[in-house]
């Protein structure tokens, strides 16, 4: 008699646990709350609250059901502990009920649900896009994307600088006779500036342009400024006058990433003649441009120390590239101009007049001050 009763009660319970009245609220709850459950060894404190909420939900649901069907707790217990309930299939049906009392079981159910949802999301993305984006596939490093992007930018920049160089060379042919001595001065100045710069590395003329040291920091800087660079790169090839802006106040303020030595090496500011400085600008203009892009991408004052350092590293790198271009240029100039010095500070320094030295000092001082001001803000 009692056994028969247990049997129909058990059947009824199992029926209920498969019905929408039970399944929908329980799976809704799990789907809503499972996202915080990960497979870490350590449990988050929030799991406990969720488990508590789950207990309440199950208690309410089962309580309502039992009231509806008219069975009491003892009957429920008897039914569920009867031999019929011990089969494997029924045990899995009871799992969500048992999870109220067993945190570990609850946790594993939630982790499982979370994984299921993630897999579902992945398959939806795959269906919609045809393939998974690289960032969601296993084993593909985000860095490779950045590297690709960086290589593209680098190639573009190199191409641009070569174009500019070619243009400059054709212009130079026209201006050739004027260039002589004043070009000396300019070069002297710029190399002096490099000597004072702590970050400036000595130019290695023989090194190929493409063999640049790639650092992670640089890559990040590039990636950050990357979006703007592409558009800016186009404009910079046409906008020659931009370097001249370096001397006006507003512009310098957004240029704090450019270190003083770089500024003092700026050709437009040099004592050299104007028309010829414009013919010399391309590499420098490009350098300035790059700095400005990086500077513009975020106000300098908002950058963290590490980002500032990144900018400075970038500046150092750009200087290096410029130096390489210089070296290249000079080599080609050699047959025409016999008196061009070979980037040797020892030879060059004595040629700087006292007046120019003063000017340099003044400019450096100004730049330092500007930098200081901007950083303080």
């Amino acid at each position: 008699m009692a056994e028969e009763e247990s049997e129909w009660i058990l059947e009824s319970i199992v029926g209920y646990l498969g019905s929408p009245e039970w399944v929908i609220p329980v799976s809704d709850f799990m789907e809503n709350k499972c996202t915080v459950f990960d497979d870490e060894d350590e449990n988050k404190l929030s799991y406990t609250d969720i488990h508590l909420q789950y207990k309440k939900l199950v208690e309410t649901l089962l309580g309502n059901y039992m009231q509806e069907v008219g069975i009491n707790e003892q009957q429920f217990l008897d039914a569920c502990t009867s031999p019929f309930a011990k089969t494997k299939t029924l045990q899995s049906v009871f799992q969500p009920v048992l999870a109220t009392d067993d945190f570990q079981m609850f946790r594993s159910l939630m982790v499982q649900k979370n994984t299921e949802l993630q897999l579902q999301a992945l398959s939806v993305i795959k269906e919609m896009n045809g393939a998974l984006p690289e960032c969601l596939t296993d084993g593909v490093d985000v860095m490779t994307e950045l590297q690709d992007q960086e290589m593209k930018i680098l190639q573009e920049v190199l191409k641009k600088s070569k174009d500019e160089y070619d243009k400059e060379m054709s212009r130079r042919l026209l201006l050739e006779h004027k260039v002589g001595s004043s070009s000396d001065k300019r070069l002297a100045e710029s190399s002096k500036a490099q000597n004072t710069s702590s970050a400036a590395s000595q130019p290695s003329g023989a090194a190929k342009l493409t063999s640049r040291p790639v650092t992670t920091d640089e890559r990040q800087t590039l990636a950050r400024a990357g979006g703007e660079r592409k558009s800016a790169a186009k404009s910079s090839s046409t906008s020659k006058p931009s370097p001249d802006c370096g001397s006006n106040g507003v512009e310098s303020r957004v240029l704090p990433a450019v270190r003083p030595p770089v500024k003092s090496g700026d050709p437009p500011l040099s004592a050299g003649s104007r028309e010829q400085s414009s013919s010399l600008t391309p590499p420098e203009g490009w350098l300035e441009e790059a700095h400005r892009e990086a500077g513009f991408s975020k106000p300098y004052t908002e950058l963290s120390a590490s980002q500032q350092e990144q900018l400075q590293q970038r500046a150092a790198y750009l200087r290096q590239q410029r130096d390489k271009l210089h070296a290249l240029k000079k080599e080609q100039q050699k047959p025409k101009q016999t008196i061009v010095p070979e980037e040797a500070p020892a030879v060059v320094t004595p040629e700087i007049s006292a007046e120019e030295k003063k000017k340099l000092q003044k400019r450096k001082h100004l730049a330092d001050k500007l930098k200081e001001e901007v950083i303080k803000k």
């Binding site: 350590e42 449990n43 404190l45 208690e59 089962l62 569920c80 502990t81 009392d101």
Partner: protein, 187 residues
């Protein structure tokens, strides 16, 4: 039994129908006392890579024919208010003390006395582990007991056990006390 207010949930508890006797143990103590190290040492796991617990850990250990479910909850000050949530239905409290941290004996004693007053821990036996005995600067168990005023706890069974969770020394002695005590208590 007789927990009418727990109602259905206590019914579900019985549904599990495991033959083993299950014991719920909560493992508490200040941060850096060595709770997680003790837990892992109980479960015979590697204790070399333990970081401060932000949430809680659970391990089930079979001992003396019982299944001990040990809950180790983080001891940082900001987590301590959450301890209360884990005390319900607790059969035994393990309280871990860094015996080398004399400066905080008072603080840890205060936390313990607050726990003792919790309704959910009424009459629950307490095992105090005077941990880190492997350190030269550690105080002996008797001194720790004095620092905590353990002699004032008269409403329950308690025991203080010197141990080193890192070396495992003394841990088993503590567990033996637990099992003997629980067996007596649950019958």
């Amino acid at each position: 039994m007789g927990e009418a207010q727990r109602g259905l949930l206590s019914v579900i508890e019985k549904l599990k129908g495991s033959t083993e006797q299950e014991v719920r143990i909560v493992l508490l103590g200040l941060d850096n006392a060595g709770k997680t190290t003790l837990l892992k040492s109980l479960a015979s796991e590697d204790v070399s890579t333990i970081t401060p617990t932000q949430g809680f850990n659970i391990k089930s250990v079979a001992s003396h024919g019982m299944k001990l479910n040990v809950w180790d909850i983080g001891g940082q000050r900001k987590i301590r208010p959450f301890w209360k949530k884990y005390l319900e239905n607790t059969d035994l409290l393990i309280y871990v003390i860094d015996s080398a941290d004399k400066k905080r004996f008072e603080e840890t004693g205060l936390e313990l006395s607050e726990l003792i007053d919790e309704e959910n821990l009424k009459g629950v036996p307490v095992l105090i582990f005077a941990n880190k005995q492997d350190l030269a600067t550690s105080s002996p168990a008797s001194e720790v007991a004095e620092g905590l005023n353990l002699h004032t706890y008269r409403d329950r069974e308690w025991q203080i056990q010197a141990c080193s969770a890192v070396s495992g020394e003394g841990v088993q002695d503590g567990m033996n006390w637990i099992c003997n005590n629980i067996v007596n208590k649950k019958k």
